[in-house]
């Protein structure tokens, strides 16, 4: 296990400085998915559906629709087998909005 790996599953495969470099989206590792149906109803953004996979151990798997995914992290929390990983959002491509400026303004107490 990598020393950088943290306890919280939502932050598990986290590259260094990920928030600045990659605004990530969720991605299901289909081999790990146990088709428990927990994540699709949890997703507030209709970004998770169950799809049939005839060769899958459970015949079905959860799939993320990247266009809808906001990377909010709820499905990471819900997954009992940690089948989610972060994937850089290549489609959006904009990256986080002015990271340094945002932090300063948010901190501007």
């Amino acid at each position: 296990m990598n020393a950088e790996v943290t306890k919280y599953p939502g932050l598990r495969p986290l590259p260094p400085d990920f928030a600045r470099e990659y605004p990530p989206l969720a991605l299901v590792v289909e081999d790990k998915c146990i088709a428990c149906d927990r994540c699709p109803p949890l997703c507030f953004f209709d970004a998770l559906i169950m799809e049939t996979r005839p060769r899958h151990k459970f015949k079905r798997t959860a799939v993320v629709i990247p266009d809808n995914c906001t990377g909010c992290g709820l499905c990471f929390e819900a997954c009992p087998v940690d089948a989610f990983v972060w994937e850089p959002d290549n489609a959006g491509g904009k990256g986080p909005l002015h990271p340094t400026e945002k932090t300063e303004r948010d901190l501007g107490v």
Binding site: T6, K7, L25, L42, F44, G73, K102, T103, D106
Partner: protein, 341 residues
């Protein structure tokens, strides 16, 4: 379901359970879902003025569910929602369209929610919300994620009175928990607010001991959960005894039982959100059903019969009956005679 009917600020709600402003009210589809689930009303996600344009972008990820028992089929009882939530993610134009379309597709009342700092911005946003057809307006002056340190006295009192004077729809003021909440309720009432929403989540913090760093993004985040109901109940009880405007209670509602408790303490309606997150959208219907069962079991005609009833049985600290341990017979401590260590 007829017995769940509640009148709130002149609106006829099919249930006292409303959807709170948040990720469950960010989209027209969710308004439709809320209506299908027989929610009383929907408070839309808070829109920020253009000055806070950075609050339309969300950090990823922005939610953590701490200490979640992860039960399936809507049976989760404990969790803490730890999140760095931001405002409505579209532009103000998108938000106005969002209200219009929601109103067109929903028969349940739609309540707009706004945040700004300058009084003129507040009034401008409030007028737009009214024009777009929202049934009421909530001023989100207490978000745990709000930027800067805008003071209640310096900024928000002026905002409340300014907004109240310029719109005709009812104005709710959403307050945060804390020592000032009663004082703020009174100020909101004095300045003409139609109702108060108690309470927002608190700003909290958590650390991961393995990485020895704060979790999520390293900054304070909003924290709430079922445990938050206990202090909110106290705030609701205090407010209900001091203000005459209706109270919409929100915090830690997991079941119909919690709703009944808030109603017994004088709340008119309740707002739920995180229970939907962990237990699904049908939580709304389940909560409605549990309230209906209670009404039937207690032979009530409506929730109006029990509103504020528990407050009448409240005592003051002076009236609490006390006994002295010494005057009791028998050992009081294990080292007293008769008790082996």
């Amino acid at each position: 379901m007829m017995s769940l009917r509640t009148e709130f600020l002149g609106m006829q709600l099919q249930s006292p359970v409303m959807i709170a402003s948040g990720p469950a009210s960010h989209d027209v589809n969710q308004v439709r879902l809320a209506q299908e689930q027989n929610a009383g009303a929907v408070v839309l996600k808070t829109a920020c003025s253009d000055k806070f344009v950075h609050m339309r972008s969300w950090p990823r990820p922005r939610y953590k569910l701490l200490d979640w028992d992860k039960q399936i089929e809507g049976r989760s009882k404990t969790f803490s929602l730890y999140s760095y939530e931001q405002g409505y993610s579209g532009t103000l134009e998108d938000y106005w369209e969002f209200i219009r379309v929601s109103k067109k597709h929903a028969s349940i009342p739609v309540i707009g929610s706004i945040f700004a700092d300058d009084v003129n911005d507040w009034v401008e946003l409030a007028k737009q919300v009214e024009q777009c057809g929202a049934d009421a307006l909530e001023l989100d002056i207490s978000s745990p994620h709000r930027p800067g340190s805008l003071g209640f006295e310096t900024t928000f009192v002026a905002a409340i009175s300014g907004v109240v004077k310029s719109v005709k729809i009812p104005v709710l003021v959403k307050l945060g928990p804390g020592a000032d909440v009663l004082h703020q309720c009174l100020a909101a009432q004095e300045n003409g607010a139609s109702a108060v929403t108690l309470c927002n989540r608190l700003r909290g913090f958590d650390v991961d001991i393995e990485s020895q760093k704060p979790i999520l993004h390293g900054y304070f985040a909003g924290v709430g959960g079922p445990w938050a109901k206990y202090y909110t109940m106290r705030h609701v009880a205090e407010a209900a005894q001091s203000v005459s405007i209706p109270i919409s209670a929100t915090s830690g509602i997991m079941s119909g039982e919690d709703v009944i408790k808030y109603i017994l303490l004088g709340a008119s309606t309740v707002q739920i959100l995180s229970v939907i997150m962990v237990n699904g959208w049908d939580s709304v219907q389940r909560i409605n059903r549990e309230i209906a069962e209670y009404i039937q079991r207690k032979n009530l005609t409506s929730l109006e019969d029990i509103r504020g009833k528990a407050l009448k049985a409240m005592t003051s600290p002076d009236d609490i009956i006390r006994w002295s341990g010494e005057s009791k017979r028998g050992p009081r401590n294990f080292w007293d005679e008769g008790f082996e260590k």
